[in-house]
Symmetry: C2
Subunit: 335 residues, 2 copies
């Protein structure tokens, strides 16, 4: 009998989740009903947004309930299908959750061509993080050729793509990340014009050095002190894209608000939030463009793949400790 290992939410964390936040359970594979399909998941996506999905608050999607399989993006292979659109052998991506097999009616799933890119890339640069970067920097950031772009989490799944797209569009790009390895990666592999190592230098001094003429667009993945430092150096009519706030997600008390927000007034600037799902109808167009950039070598993708659903918690922690390079992925398939 094949068992399905599943990671379920056991309790609502306060602050940083711990080892008791989830339980690992095994259950028999479910029967496939009419209109459904069963997917053998190969990889699941680990994203900072997962932290928010665990809070019992009104947000852009409902919170994961206690006892439910933890929500996660996934990619895998259809192994049984009574679905009109998907057949056995299809490689599909969707919201499979932190489990080895997913039974679904196909909602939110789409097929990908696994011969064109490795599966983890489809949940990274060609998946939600890449789409977030694409629509965030182009539709919300509204970058124009010659502008200066600062991106935090610049070596991460979203930030690395933000910076590369901004380079493709003719902007000057500066990335912020923690540690020399990530900074070297942004500079040498991604081709950013400048880098700031927030763990080893003063962030204000770094921004001043790398962007002496100020910031036209700041793409924020982190919030906190770095958002404030960026606000202090924005130019007239600057756009700040609020994509995330990883520094704040595990706060037990209030989020720290940006005390320099009046820079928006002085500079007639804006700060706008975004959620990638709003752009779902244009994913196809974005994926095509991103795929072509990848094929031309203009857009690089890096995934940091860990193995074993049993290691979910240890891998999850890397999202917040920063001990990863690029997109964090967990292989849940057992060979």
């Amino acid at each position: 009998m094949t068992l399905n290992k599943q990671v379920k939410l056991a309790k609502r964390p306060v602050g940083m989740p711990d080892e008791n936040t989830w339980t690992l359970e095994s259950s028999e594979l479910p029967a496939v009903g009419e209109g459904q399909m069963l997917i053998k998941n190969h990889f699941i996506s680990l994203d900072p947004a997962m932290r928010g999905w665990m809070n019992d608050v009104r947000s852009y999607i409902p919170p994961v309930q206690i006892g439910e399989v933890m929500r996660a993006g996934s990619i895998g292979e259809v192994i049984e299908s009574k679905h009109p659109k998907f057949k056995v052998g299809d490689v599909v991506s969707g919201w499979g959750g932190v489990q080895q097999y997913s039974l679904t009616d196909g909602q939110g799933y789409y097929s990908v061509d696994a011969s064109l890119a490795p599966m983890p890339t489809y949940i990274g640069t060609l998946g939600m993080p890449g789409m977030t970067a694409y629509f965030g920097i182009l539709e919300v950031g509204k970058i124009k050729e010659g502008e200066t772009v600062l991106v935090s989490g610049g070596a991460g799944a979203v930030g690395s793509v933000v910076g590369q797209i901004a380079k493709i569009k003719g902007c000057k790009v500066v990335g912020i990340a923690g540690g020399p390895e990530k900074c070297k990666y942004m500079k040498e592999e991604l081709g950013f014009d400048g880098v700031i190592d927030y763990k080893n230098e003063n962030i204000h001094a770094g921004i001043k050095r790398e962007l002496p003429k100020g910031i036209d667009v700041y793409f924020d993945n982190v919030g906190g002190e770095i958002l404030d430092a960026a606000l202090a150096r924005i130019n007239m009519k600057a756009r700040i894209v609020i994509c995330g706030a990883i520094s704040q997600y595990n706060n037990k008390e209030n989020v720290t608000g940006p005390s320099n927000y009046l820079a928006l007034l002085v500079n007639r600037a804006s700060m706008t939030g975004m959620v990638v799902m709003d752009y779902a109808q244009d994913y196809g167009k974005a994926a095509m463009e991103m795929g072509m950039w990848m094929a031309q070598g203009k857009l690089k993708s890096k995934e940091d793949v860990y193995e074993g659903i049993d290691n979910f918690y240890d891998t999850f922690k890397r999202l917040f400790s920063g001990e990863k390079m690029g997109k964090l992925v967990l292989k849940v398939l057992e060979d």
Copy 2:
């Protein structure tokens, strides 16, 4: 010999200005050179923005220097002119400063028809505060018929006009102000749909009661706790107009940032700063529309006029204590 009483900046205040922040001096009237005119000021405008102009920081206009006449909007009568555009007897508005007479080359000045509205109205609803309201709510807030609009400082020079314009455009308008008198004014005289007395009720509860369906546009004059409370109730695609932050101007330490700013993300909302001077080329059009609304009785204007340049400091304090109704004006003309 006619003397010109002038209020000059004596030192840079830390926190709330005190009686030693300015000095009152008298000087002989200057000679009028070619291309200049001498104006006898009747009224000067007192605005919260004055506080920011005293700080030695990069902002949208240079700070007032120590020893300079305190910057202020003004209205008065030309009493001597070698200026090609202005003649003796013209009533003109501009940046006359806190003084009884102003010598100027005319830059930034314009004539008004004093028979159509009282002089104080020209530095209130038909002056900078009115223009700020007009462009802020229409161009930045982008209100649409049927939307809900919340405005802080709703009985003030800017907020009262914001709310009335939003009513004219078919919005549901709720105003926040301190004390029953101001709330009565907003409700009964300005026709707002709802009012919240922040001095006598919980602001969160007030917003929930008056705007059970949430906020589409929030026009912020105050910052601080009220901005956070508004963020907590914004709707999808909401727009927050950052016009000022009167609660924060006298902070000795850091400004308090809005800790609920991630509501922008969840709701795909934006927070945008504005400075009225950016719209200078369209003041004419706005003034015409506002004038017509006033003539039709749709737009009401209230000025709270105090007398005597010697009372500048006591009058200035009312900006921050809230002890005023509508636009705060000081009559500097001595009869």
